[in-house]
């Protein structure tokens, strides 16, 4: 049964946490994810959940405590943003190498410096190769739906990996929108019980975790971890199917919007997709063959699928809300162009870094990009593959 509500992204996600009633939550406040531990604390102190809530003294300890807890067989969750995620860095790799399905909301915010509390994707993009699954959502509904699916994906025996549920700070986390919630029982049934095969609290089968792993074994362990992340792709699709059966809402590795016959396409992720879809509608009304791809699963990266989805396009712009500062384009751009390599030689691809530190991205900005794609389609020479959108220089 669905429940119509009006909630912010953070409210929606914390509501999902209440419905799931995890065993342990360990979190530290940082804007704009702070509301999650804040709302959750009120659920704990008002008896809505019987979770053990650890008010750690830092994000490094938040992730360390999550590792200790999940390794003890407890379903464990946390949330963070920006510098908080950066402080967890060391522990992110340890969590994934221990194959612990910790669920973390990453409410995307720019990284210092300079200090900035607004949205871009430099935090989670920096953690893209930490061995976590990364799932991105456009709005409060997707943040909520992705969070619920994340539990089943991460805990699947073929996967056993931690997962980041990423959505845009303030734009999604704080803006109140209509949302369809799932009833509590259905959520509980959907995620089921967490029953790991091995954990620290089993006296009959004690385990040692986190050994020193020398050259004879380390490589094989990393290889197994890579395989688990690959396995996640099919599990993500299977879980999406089950979720659709429950809610009617369809999810995949990415969303294709007006891509059927699109000659010009933009690829991006998170909330800017809402603005971009509006522009696509306008341009379609003008008779232009434009489309949009919104990446949902960034790790594991859907290499084959994305290459296939773009194969019929002529000119594509990849929009990155994080700069890799490598002189060769943003993270989404480099991954997509790698995916295309050897599969097609006809698509022209350009990159725009946009919206850093919360710089507003308006309809005109997106329209500007489609206009540029049109000019290239019409024969204009590409002057620069790497570009910055709406920056003063």
């Amino acid at each position: 049964m669905s429940i119509k509500e009006r909630l912010s992204g953070n409210e929606a996600v914390t509501n999902a946490m209440r419905q799931i009633n995890p065993d342990v939550v360990a979190a530290f406040p940082i804007t704009p994810s702070t509301e999650i531990p804040q709302y959750f604390a009120s659920f704990v102190n008002n008896g809505k959940v019987d979770t053990e809530f650890i008010t750690v003294e830092s994000e490094h300890s938040a992730m360390s405590a999550c590792i200790g807890s999940e390794a003890s067989g407890a379903r464990t969750m946390t949330a963070t943003s920006s510098a908080g995620l950066a402080l967890m860095w060391e522990m992110l790799y340890i969590a994934s190498s221990m194959r612990l399905p910790i669920i973390m909301s990453v409410v995307n915010r720019a990284l210092s410096g300079p200090l900035n509390i607004h949205n871009d994707h430099s935090d989670s993009m920096g953690a893209r190769d930490s061995g976590w699954i990364q799932i991105y959502g456009e709005n409060n509904q997707e943040a909520y739906d992705n969070f619920i699916q994340a539990v089943r994906i991460a805990e699947h025996p073929d996967v056993n990996l931690p997962i980041m549920n990423c959505y845009d700070g303030f734009i999604t986390s704080h803006a109140v929108e209509n949302i369809e919630l799932i009833d509590d029982d259905s959520v509980k049934n959907f995620v089921g019980e967490y029953t790991p095969k091995y954990h620290l609290l089993n006296k009959n089968q004690p385990i040692s975790l986190g050994p020193l792993d020398l050259p004879q074994h380390y490589f094989e362990h990393k290889r197994q971890q890579a395989e688990a992340l690959k396995n996640a792709k099919q599990v993500i699709l299977d879980v999406a199917k089950k979720f659709e059966e429950m809610t009617g809402r369809k999810y995949s590795l990415f969303e294709e919007y007006e891509m059927e016959d699109a000659e010009l396409a933009i690829v991006l992720l998170n909330s800017t997709a809402g603005t971009a879809k509006y522009v696509v509608d306008e341009l379609r009304a003008e008779g232009k063959k434009v489309g949009l791809i919104k990446i949902r699963i960034f790790r594991p990266f859907p290499v084959e699928e994305i290459a296939k989805a773009l194969s019929k396009c002529t000119v594509v712009a990849i929009l990155d809300k994080a700069d890799s500062l490598n002189g060769a384009g943003g993270p989404l751009f480099t991954d997509i162009t790698s995916a295309l390599y050897g599969k097609t030689h006809t698509i022209k691809v350009i990159n725009y870094i946009y919206g850093l530190g919360g710089r507003d991205v308006k309809i005109n900005d997106i329209r500007f990009v489609y206009d540029e794609l049109q000019k290239i389609f019409d024969g204009k020479k590409i002057e620069s593959i790497f570009n910055y959108l709406n920056v003063k220089e």
């Binding site: 342990v24 360990a26 019987d50 360390s64 089993n202 385990i207 050994p211």
Partner: protein
């Protein structure tokens, strides 16, 4: 508890032999003794900071730990185990654990992982009051990485990052008083101990720490033959001298009340402790007499303070 070494020695070992700690290192003795304080029927979740103990006892595919063991990183052993303890609370409350035994949570860290890089994580876990014990085996330097100075290194000690040079003679700062910092956390039980004599002091304190509800802290002096440069058979002699010189007083603080467990009738001069150790040899060179004097004054001052704290808290 009626402590009896003979009886206690019969308890099953929870850290097996065959680990790779150095001969003459006190850390495995400390670990085995602390774990012997566990009731035989209880299960333990043991955490360790990165350091000698961890890399020598849990080397894939081997483990020397008979209980469950977890190591994550250098600075977060306390936070890691606090998570495990929280999981235990939650799963017990939700009736998801079908076990009848109690589970105890014990964390080991060297002084690097405790006094320095792990201090924040330790402070957090202790302040939150998790039902766990943190045991620092304090060997007074970063021994695992090759004897670099830590805030637990005693004044003037020669380490690889505070070498006894021609201009600067070893570590310039006094040792951080971590036990006091832990007392300031208002913990139910804090103790400073050493594996000494028949191990009565450390055994009783370990038992008290493990079976006192809440966050408890043990600081244990842990001589390291590589870093301190003593002859390995002299291990227990060195520990005894640390106590007899009052460089490492044995005391405990229970709910704020200090108790000095051993007061030497005749406090020995610090020379007795530093003489057998290579790391202090430069202090005996001509012209460096002031170093010994200064070290002695510091030890005296700290000892007098401790005696006063005992008086004040036991009116």
């Amino acid at each position: 508890m009626n402590y009896n070494l003979k009886e206690w020695s019969k308890k099953p070992e929870r850290l097996t032999g065959g680990h790779r700690m150095c001969a003459g290192c006190s850390a495995p003795t400390i670990v085995r003794t602390v774990l012997r304080a566990l009731k035989t029927e209880d299960h333990a979740v043991i955490g360790s900071a990165t350091g000698c103990l961890e890399v020598s006892t849990c080397l894939y595919p081997y483990t020397a730990w008979r209980d469950s063991f977890i190591h994550t990183a250098f600075e977060c052993a306390a936070a890691t185990v606090s998570g495990a303890q929280a999981a235990y609370e939650a799963l017990k409350r939700k009736n998801k654990l079908n076990q009848t035994c109690d589970i105890k949570f014990i964390t080991f860290g060297g002084d690097g992982g405790t006094y320095d890089i792990g201090l924040q994580s330790l402070s957090g876990a202790m302040e939150r009051g998790h039902d766990m014990v943190y045991v620092c085996y304090d060997n007074g330097a970063y021994m695992n990485t090759g004897i670099q100075r830590s805030s637990a290194t005693p004044t003037f000690a020669d380490t690889t990052t505070s070498p006894a040079g021609t201009k600067v003679g070893g570590k310039q700062q006094p040792k951080k008083d971590l036990t006091s910092i832990m007392v300031s956390h208002n913990l139910p039980y804090v103790a400073q101990t050493a594996p000494l004599g028949n191990f009565k002091d450390i055994s009783e304190k370990a038992e008290k720490a493990i079976y006192t509800k809440g966050a408890c802290f043990l600081n244990v002096i842990a001589p390291c033959p590589r870093g301190w440069r003593y002859e390995t058979p002299k291990l227990f002699e060195i520990i005894k001298l640390a106590v007899e010189t009052c460089i490492w007083p044995l005391y405990e603080v229970e709910n704020g009340k200090y108790k000095i467990n051993y007061k030497p009738k005749q406090k020995l001069p610090i020379e007795d402790f530093i003489k057998p150790q290579g790391r202090f040899q430069h202090m005996f060179k001509n012209g460096n007499e002031w170093m010994i004097k200064q070290f002695q004054e510091h030890v005296d001052k700290k000892w007098n303070e401790l005696c006063k704290l005992e008086d004040i808290t036991n009116p």
